[in-house]
């Protein structure tokens, strides 16, 4: 193991000695001593700018004093430095008071109606550093207010202190310079270009780091005072990036969520979906009581004992498949995993309620579960290869971390993809253009090193042989594999064994010793030894009568590649559904259990790194129960207990199973299949955009307003052949249906046509029954 040697520098601040790593800025060295120097423009994750001048201190180095106070946010410490802050220098104190007075000259006195009031750095520091009374008797600068710079961010220019945190964030961190400083001097102001709103996936961070109430979120504006909120550290349920968050609740209702500070994971950022998509929890159609389908075929509300009994009756003694969905917490996934094996006696369980493959299932068991590739590996990588993965759309904090290194040290990024995306352009990625389905070939030609990282998305499984090629590439070069699914629950579900070939802790079902391990902890005689069916097989089996019943937790059957089969399977079997809101599953279920949303329960997710992301109940007093507790009640009723009557007990038992140290599951490589493409045909390719018609974004119109517009993307060659230009309507169709959208000519493989998978006017799985790799007709609409 190597240790990084850090040069430490000792200096004196206000008479106290402190040692900090070389390169530390004076303002942060002071923080280490608990000395708070007031500041506005300074932000530890943004480049120093020294613009607001609020943090002026007196500095001398080895007896040589700077002739004037210095901005402590721009000066790195030096040996022999003596710093006098406002606490010990009258000059620094007067300088700071002077700056504060200037900042307030044009600041409106609207704190009583300002969202920031009560948690405002300007308000707080005006109290600590300002004069009691203003000497300004003149006219304040006036602007129209507020202005919408996007559908979700509002700008009050009068309140702005021009610290440029927002514009610097947008440029330095997100590479979305849609907001800029405009005009100059006293009229300088933050703004957008009039024809281009601030539609960045990361715009909410600017609201959070604004040190005044200049930038506010439309959804939180005028909703609450900060001191009325109860804040709980939480973890984001929207993707596998694993952002730490803070959830602010007033009277049982989540009013806002903020990015939490976790230097290892999301630093201090999150994406707009994580920040603003939480209204689905308080949707009016929340299921609040258990539902049981009565003799007339109607779902009616039932008591818990009645519903438990009805579900137990329907499942007991039957052949049952379990579909978990990718949104379960680790504890809930563990509950489903144990329920399947112990209560139902089957390995027919799968969390992959999406397009999937057996190649993937083997890949997950052999190359993903129990391994650890982390953000740190990105930090150190010489090259990051993206396969079937669009980080900006599918794991935005992984995107930001890569972008940081692209900007700071020109990290090399390559993408095996069918289309060059906006995100990959920002990453300066080398675009290795492939036809959908031909990924494996391209991957096998790539050179990497042991310091490289291959980030594989869940869509890699949609191209046969791609994951096999990734495994071979990693084997050949020593590069690390990081598998980054979209849904927050998937890595945890693998670890919990909510899949047919794995038991908890990454234990192969096929390994007798692994089964003994688990059986011992669970106190059962044996565990079923046959590898279970995958999600598609479960649907097919249910449809064809090989399964009698389904237990379905948070699954949208329309996300499946076999959505038609899925719906008829649900129609034909006894279905127990665990849901928060009505869905295609509850519409067909025999028993529906209302479950708690993430804010209403404790638990954890495991992010793509395999890192536990624990969270506590944010909304106290909810009557909703977590899935695992209901499963435990159901198991009791069926006479085969799983004894997990709380999240805590599930978490404790799962931890006691520790990681498998036996042989890893084996992997049988697959090969790719190629299709020949006719003249008016193309191979479909798609992905889900970060902001789309996903059900967890329901109810957020402001957020939806910033979603990227739906388009069909074709190459210049195809556009010329079709005689279309940007904006013309193009129709993509197959035997099942068609989608018509405005065309956009971009850098895409000539054989491919791209559309968003689940956006407004473009729901591919539902309309075309396919989302990638299949032939479709493309024509002028």
């Amino acid at each position: 193991m190597t240790t990084e040697v850090v040069d430490m520098i000792t200096l004196v601040i206000d008479g106290f000695e402190v040692s900090v790593p070389k390169g530390t800025l004076v303002i942060r060295a002071a923080e280490k001593l608990g000395i708070q120097i007031p500041r506005f423009c300074d932000h530890p994750l943004l480049d120093p700018v020294g613009a607001c001048r609020q943090c002026l201190v007196d500095i001398e180095i080895n007896g040589r004093a700077f002739p004037k106070p210095q901005a402590s946010c721009t000066i790195p410490v030096e040996p022999g430095m003596i710093v006098k802050t406002q606490l010990t220098s009258a000059v620094a104190q007067k300088a700071q008071e002077g700056i504060m007075e200037f900042l307030l000259v044009n600041h409106p006195l609207d704190c009583p109606v300002c969202d920031k009031g009560g948690e405002c750095p300007l308000q707080n520091q005006a109290m600590s550093t300002g004069r009691g009374e203003s000497r300004f008797e003149g006219k304040k600068r006036l602007f129209d207010k507020p202005i919408n710079i996007s559908s979700q961010v509002l700008l009050d220019r009068e309140r702005c202190v021009l610290c440029a945190r927002c514009t610097r964030f947008s440029e330095q961190i997100a590479s979305d310079p849609f907001i800029t400083l405009n005009e100059r001097g006293a009229l300088q102001q933050v703004g957008i270009y009039e024809n281009q709103p601030f539609e960045s996936y990361f715009s909410g961070n600017t609201v959070q780091i604004c040190p005044v109430g200049a930038l506010t979120g439309a959804s939180y504006r005028f909703q609450a005072r900060p001191f009325d909120l109860v804040s709980t550290p939480s973890s984001c349920e929207h993707c596998a990036s694993g952002c730490a968050q803070r959830t602010d609740v007033r009277r049982g209702k989540t009013l806002r969520r903020l990015a939490g500070d976790d230097p290892e994971v999301n630093e201090e950022w999150n994406c707009d979906k994580g920040r603003w998509a939480f209204k689905y929890v308080t949707a009016l159609d929340r299921i609040t009581n258990p539902l049981v389908r009565d003799a007339s075929g109607e779902l009616r509300e039932a008591s818990w004992p009645e519903a438990i009994a009805a579900a137990a009756d329907g499942l007991k003694g039957n052949r049952v498949g379990v579909l978990v969905g990718g949104r379960a917490t680790v504890e809930d996934a563990y509950g489903y995993s144990k329920f399947a094996r112990v209560t139902l006696g089957t390995n027919d369980i799968d969390f992959r309620s999406r397009v999937s493959s057996d190649e993937e299932r083997e890949f997950l068991a052999s190359h993903v579960v129990g391994t650890s590739t982390t953000y740190r590996d990105i930090d150190r990588a010489d090259h990051v290869l993206l396969v079937g993965f669009e980080p900006e759309e599918e794991s935005p904090i992984v995107f930001l971390r890569m972008l940081k290194h692209v900007k700071k040290r020109a990290l090399k990024v390559s993408a095996v993809a069918t289309k060059l995306s906006i995100g990959n352009e920002k990453l300066g990625a080398t675009f290795l253009s492939v036809a959908p389905g031909s990924e494996a070939d391209a991957i096998s030609k790539i050179e990497l090193t042991a310091k490289s990282v291959i980030l594989v998305g869940e869509r890699a499984c949609e191209s046969a042989g791609a994951l096999s090629a990734v495994a071979a590439l990693a084997h050949r070069t020593g590069a690390k594999i990081g598998w980054v699914p979209r849904r927050a629950g998937e890595p945890g579900a693998i670890a919990a064994g909510a899949i047919g070939n794995l038991l908890p802790g990454g234990r192969p079902v096929s390994d007798p010793a692994a089964r003994v391990d688990v059986a011992t902890v669970w106190g059962v005689d044996s565990i079923p030894s046959a590898v279970g069916k995958n999600a598609d097989e479960i649907f097919v089996a249910a449809k064809t009568g090989q399964l009698d019943a389904l237990v379905v937790g948070g699954v949208d059957p329309l996300d499946s590649a076999l959505s038609a089969e899925a719906l008829s399977a649900l129609d034909q079997t006894f279905v127990v559904s665990f849901e928060i809101r009505p869905s295609a599953v509850t519409a067909r279920a025999n028993v529906v259990f209302p479950v708690a949303a993430v804010t209403e329960k404790s638990g954890s997710f495991m992010n793509w790194e395999g890192r536990a992301r624990e969270f506590d109940t944010a909304v106290e007093g909810s009557l909703h129960r977590s899935d695992v507790r209901i499963l435990s009640m159901l198991a009791d009723a069926m006479g085969k207990s799983i004894s997990l009557n709380s999240v805590k007990s599930a978490s404790k038992e799962f931890a006691s199973l520790s990681k498998w140290d036996g042989a890893r599951a084996t992997f049988t490589p697959s090969t790719s299949k190629s299709l020949s493409v006719g003249n008016d045909e193309a191979l479909l390719t798609s992905w889900r955009r970060l902001l789309d018609d996903g059900s967890l974004q329901d109810g957020e119109v402001n957020l939806a307003g910033t979603a990227r517009k739906s388009v069909v993307v074709i190459s210049q060659k195809r556009a010329s052949a079709l005689g279309v230009v940007d904006g013309d309507a193009v129709k993509v169709s197959n035997s099942q249906g068609s989608v018509t959208l405005p065309v956009l000519v971009e850098n895409i493989h000539d054989d491919a046509v791209w559309m968003p998978r689940n956006s407004r006017g473009s729901h591919l799985l539902e309309t075309l029954g396919t989302a990638s790799g299949t032939l479709v007709k493309v024509g002028k609409a």
């Binding site: 120093p48 700018v49 020294g50 613009a51 607001c52 001048r53 609020q54 002026l56 002739p67 004037k68 106070p69 721009t74 007067k94 300088a95 008071e97 002077g98 700056i99 007075e101 200037f102 900042l103 000259v105 044009n106 000497r135 300004f136 003149g138 006219k139 600068r141 202190v161 021009l162 400083l181 005009e183 100059r184 001097g185 006293a186 009229l187 300088q188």
Partner: protein, 433 residues
């Protein structure tokens, strides 16, 4: 014999002084040919030895600045000439470039060669169309003559020279703001360090020099460091352009050795306009604290002016006689700084906004004596607290005017308005003709 030493301006009285032929008639481009045969370091040494200091205001030794450029670093180096002459009162580079653009090009050839730059830029303010024309034409002519481009003077050295025209922003005269502007950004000053010598244009080692500094280089190469040193005072060597303007009998450019006094220049220029007396003046533009009659004999070199409490600046001698209202003069300068503040830092952006309001009130007789103390205190909170020197310049006329003319401010308050007749300070008769 006068004390005047026309070198840069020596041939401005010839009709074709701005043409290549006109320039070559008096030995133009022989210094660059000579320099290209020298070792680059020897050129830097000669400029160091000459004692040439920056003529743009700060007075930093030019040779030393060139010497800061790291050599053998395998990076592109750049020479950028600051022709963004905008400091109120300053009007030396503009007539120089109108009358003799080639001397700047020749100086740039020498300077670029010395610092091993293959690309050089002139950043010229955008409000001087005809100077832009002359400069552009001179560059084209120099390219045609083989003085610019590939293999200049057959020396094997390449030099591209681009004229970059500004668009109205005083702050771009600040060298780091100039670089941001030249890179295509808003012209706001950059954090230093890193200094331009290490990370300037495109984050590459860069020298930024004033027009007059670079224009002085060919004469130093031709005539030697000792010749240049023979002019001026102990630490302020050489000749320079003094620009006399305002209430004088004959305004204009005076090229003289550093250290000449205003009294000497006024004597040459025929004194203050007839029937009037000197009231106050700027030694080097509006950003340099005001002087009065008591400073007539202050040597106008870097040390002399500084010792008397101001700065040599751009040697822009703006002369105001007793008809000029100090409050009006200072208000107008303050409005200028407010207009030109880039907006980046708080004290400059908000401070100038506030100062203008107070001064406007004072000019119209509103306010109390306490407002004068407030002005001083606000200036104290601005000077040395802002990001760059623009705001220091804004405070200078206020503080220095209150030092010398506090009673005149009070007169406005007592009088309930300005006691001056604005017409008396104009050059017009009653009809405005």
């Amino acid at each position: 014999m006068t004390k005047l030493t026309p070198v840069l301006s020596a041939h401005w009285d010839e009709k074709d002084s701005f043409t290549l032929e006109g320039y070559k008639r008096h030995g133009g481009y022989t210094a660059s040919a000579k320099a290209l045969k020298m070792e680059p370091d020897a050129i830097i040494q000669q400029v160091k030895d000459s004692g040439l200091r920056g003529r743009g205001g700060a007075g930093f030794p030019t040779g030393m600045k060139w010497g800061f450029i790291p050599q053998g670093d395998n990076k592109d180096h750049y020479l950028v000439v600051n022709a963004d002459e905008s400091e109120p009162g300053t009007c030396k580079d503009t007539p120089l470039l109108l009358a003799n653009p080639h001397v700047l090009i020749e100086g740039m050839i020498i300077g670029s060669y010395a610092i091993r730059a293959k690309y050089a830029f002139i950043y010229i303010r955008g409000e001087v169309t005809h100077v832009v024309r002359r400069m552009q034409q001179a560059i084209e002519d120099a390219y045609k003559a083989g003085y610019l481009g590939k293999n200049i003077f057959g020396s094997g050295v390449d030099l591209e020279l681009v004229l970059h025209v500004g668009a109205g922003a005083y702050i771009c005269g600040e060298e780091t703001a100039l670089l941001d502007s030249l890179e295509g950004f808003r012209g706001q000053p950059r954090l230093r360090p890193p200094f331009p010598a290490i990370a300037g244009l495109y984050a590459r080692p860069t020298v930024v020099n004033n027009v007059e500094s670079i224009a002085s280089v060919p004469s130093i190469i031709s005539n030697g460091a000792e010749w240049f040193q023979s002019m001026g005072t102990e630490k302020s060597k050489g000749m320079t352009l003094y620009s006399l303007s305002g209430h004088v009998a004959n305004p204009g450019q005076f090229e003289a050795p550093l250290g000449i006094t205003l009294r000497e220049i006024l004597e040459l220029a025929g004194g203050i306009r007839k029937g009037h007396q000197l009231k106050f003046w700027t030694p080097g533009g509006s950003s340099t604290p005001l002087f009065t009659v008591e400073h007539l004999d202050t040597p106008l070199d870097y040390e002399g002016v500084s010792a008397a409490g101001s700065m040599l600046g751009t040697k822009a001698l703006q002369i105001f006689d007793e008809t000029t209202c100090i409050v009006r003069a200072v208000l107008r300068w303050t409005e200028f700084y407010k207009h030109e503040s880039c907006g980046k830092c708080t004290p400059c952006r908000e401070g100038t906004w506030w100062l203008v309001q107070i001064l406007k009130d004072l000019e119209s007789g509103k306010g109390t004596e306490a407002d004068l103390d407030k002005l001083i205190d606000l200036c104290d909170n601005i000077m040395g607290r802002s990001f760059c020197a623009l705001a220091d310049g804004a405070a200078s006329p206020i503080v220095s005017s209150l030092k010398y003319f506090r009673s005149e401010y009070m007169d406005h308050l007592r009088n309930g308005g300005c006691p001056f007749d604005p017409h008396a300070s104009t050059l017009f008769d009653k009809a405005g003709v």
